[in-house]
């Protein structure tokens, strides 16, 4: 591991100008994420979690502060971090294979090579046999797996996941969570995962970052030292319940704050 962290966020603030005036989404956020970490960001809705990811991906420009990836500042949209969107964002006119190949095609990788790479990742997410299907014939869970394969095929150092499993049913979510853990262990990617589910955070993370209500600030940064694999017995352990209480208390306080703000605003 070399000296500079995978992601370094310094004094980051973001204010949006809307029709109803200015909205301060993030205020003075400092965060360093190291290689191989699985960081889950939790917080009440509207706390700026998604904004944080969009800033890291370069979709938005910060109002103040800077973001560095391995010491290099983010100056615009870049392919260094693979983004997984809540609404999958698959290209409906491309087959599963063509979707997964997309990043490689952009790198002008020869057709044969990218097809082989894509097949490997399609197999990794368990979609062998669906290579030539169009996304609209797939279920939500399958779509999100295509999306993950697409990001992985591009081989980014970091994966940014914006509530990727929020729209899925409980069973599918569990399967995908386990698959994601396996992938992370095997590929050693740095993960930044956003959710509002505390259980999901405890299950996946190596570290949990809790954000305050708007304007988003970091309120807690907790090391998740639960043993892996985080099976049913871990989920019933004392440490799990302690951590859950700790996270829950912080999040609840922020939720109440944001509700109060909503009532007055």
């Amino acid at each position: 591991m070399n000296g500079s962290p995978e992601i370094e966020i310094r004094g980051l603030s973001k204010t949006f100008r809307t029709d109803r005036g200015e909205v301060e989404a993030l205020r003075n956020v400092d965060l360093a994420i190291h290689s191989g970490e699985f960081v889950v960001v939790v917080g009440a809705s509207g706390c700026g979690k998604t904004t944080l990811l969009n800033l890291v991906a370069g979709f938005e420009r910060p109002t103040h502060g800077e973001i560095f990836l391995k010491g290099e500042p983010v100056r615009g949209i870049h392919p260094k971090c693979g983004m997984i969107f809540q609404q999958y964002a698959l290209f409906p006119w491309k087959t599963v294979r063509e979707n997964v190949e997309f990043g490689l095609k952009m790198k002008r990788v020869p057709k044969k090579e990218r097809s082989e790479t894509a097949e490997g990742f399609i197999e990794l997410v368990g979609l062998k046999g669906f290579e030539d299907s169009y996304p609209n014939t797939l279920s939500g869970g399958m779509k999100q797996r295509v999306s993950i394969a697409r990001a992985l095929a591009n081989d980014p150092r970091v994966m940014l996941l914006d509530e990727p499993f929020a729209a899925l049913d409980a069973m599918t979510r569990q399967v995908l969570q386990e698959q994601l853990i396996r992938i992370q262990e095997r590929q050693g990617k740095t993960m930044v995962f956003i959710t509002h589910s505390i259980d999901e955070a405890l299950l996946l993370s190596s570290r949990i970052v809790i954000m305050t209500a708007r304007p988003g600030q970091i309120s807690q940064d907790i090391e998740n030292d639960l043993p892996r694999p985080r099976n049913a017995s871990v989920q019933l352990s004392k440490r799990y319940i302690e951590l859950k209480e700790l996270v829950w208390d912080t999040v609840q306080a922020e939720v109440l704050k944001s509700m109060a703000a909503g009532a007055t605003g």
Partner: protein, 255 residues
């Protein structure tokens, strides 16, 4: 044809029976002398006119002349409108520059271009093409701009996140993303192109279905007029069916 759903054999059967009944009823009304032929010629009379014109070798000339004008004018309009529309749909600056011109051109009926086009292009086929072009370009352009704007911005972000440059986004995301709406718009425009060609053929034309209708009117040959109308309907239906084929080929993910 109307496409509300997949047409079951039952649906088609009822449609066929209704069509036959309609024609028979029409024929009966004319045969009974309820309406003078100059006001409404019978279907058989229209058919006889078709045969007579075919024998004189004129029928195909009229059909092909109009089809060629529609195709040339419409294709030129579409070929110009699609890239330009995508460009404007993705550039607020250029959209704001061209907005006034497009807004002014759009409401103009193709008929209104006839005098100027005659001055600029003379009595020529190019002048006919230009009428179809002017009648269909501005509306097509608006369809394309709207289609382009309707592409989900998340898809653009996703593509850029995977390393797509500006040209890649255009080719890989905006164009295919807007294509279903562009094709839907062009289908509407093709119908409008047919109304344009009829107006183009009102002046200084010596062939075409529009000319056939107008000349039929001059000679009070209502059957010729009717025949021209029927032929326009049939031609547009055939072209529509071809269009649907193409659509299925170009948009395989839509089915």
């Amino acid at each position: 044809m109307i496409t509300p759903m997949h047409k079951s054999p039952r649906y088609l059967l009822i449609s066929a029976v209704s069509f036959v009944c309609m024609v028979l009823l029409w024929e009966a009304i004319c045969r009974l002398g309820l309406i003078e032929p100059v006001f409404l010629p019978s279907p058989s009379r229209v058919l006889l006119r078709a045969i007579a014109l075919q024998e004189r070798g004129e029928l195909l000339i009229h059909i092909l002349a109009s089809c060629r004008r529609v195709m040339v004018g419409f294709l030129a309009a579409a070929l110009a409108a699609v890239p330009f529309g995508i460009f404007l749909g993705t550039s607020r600056l250029f959209l704001s520059i061209f907005d006034p011109v497009i807004s002014l051109l759009r409401p103009l009926p193709s008929m209104s271009w006839i005098p100027l086009s005659l001055l600029w292009l003379g009595i020529s086929e190019t002048q006919k093409y230009s009428i179809v072009f002017m009648g269909s370009f501005a509306p097509s352009l608006l369809y394309v701009i709207e289609a382009t704007k309707s592409v989900d911005p998340v898809l653009v972000r996703a593509a850029q996140n995977l390393g797509a440059g500006r040209a890649d986004v255009m080719r890989e995301v905006i164009l295919p993303g807007a294509l279903p709406q562009i094709i839907a718009g062009l289908k509407v425009m093709l119908g409008i192109a047919w109304t344009c060609v009829i107006s183009a053929e009102l002046v200084a034309a010596s062939n075409g279905l529009g000319f056939m209708i107008m000349n039929g009117k001059e000679y009070f040959q209502t059957d010729t007029v009717m025949l021209g109308m029927v032929l326009i309907s049939l031609t547009v239906m055939i072209i529509d069916a071809v269009f649907k084929r193409i659509e299925r080929k170009v948009l395989p993910w839509m089915s």
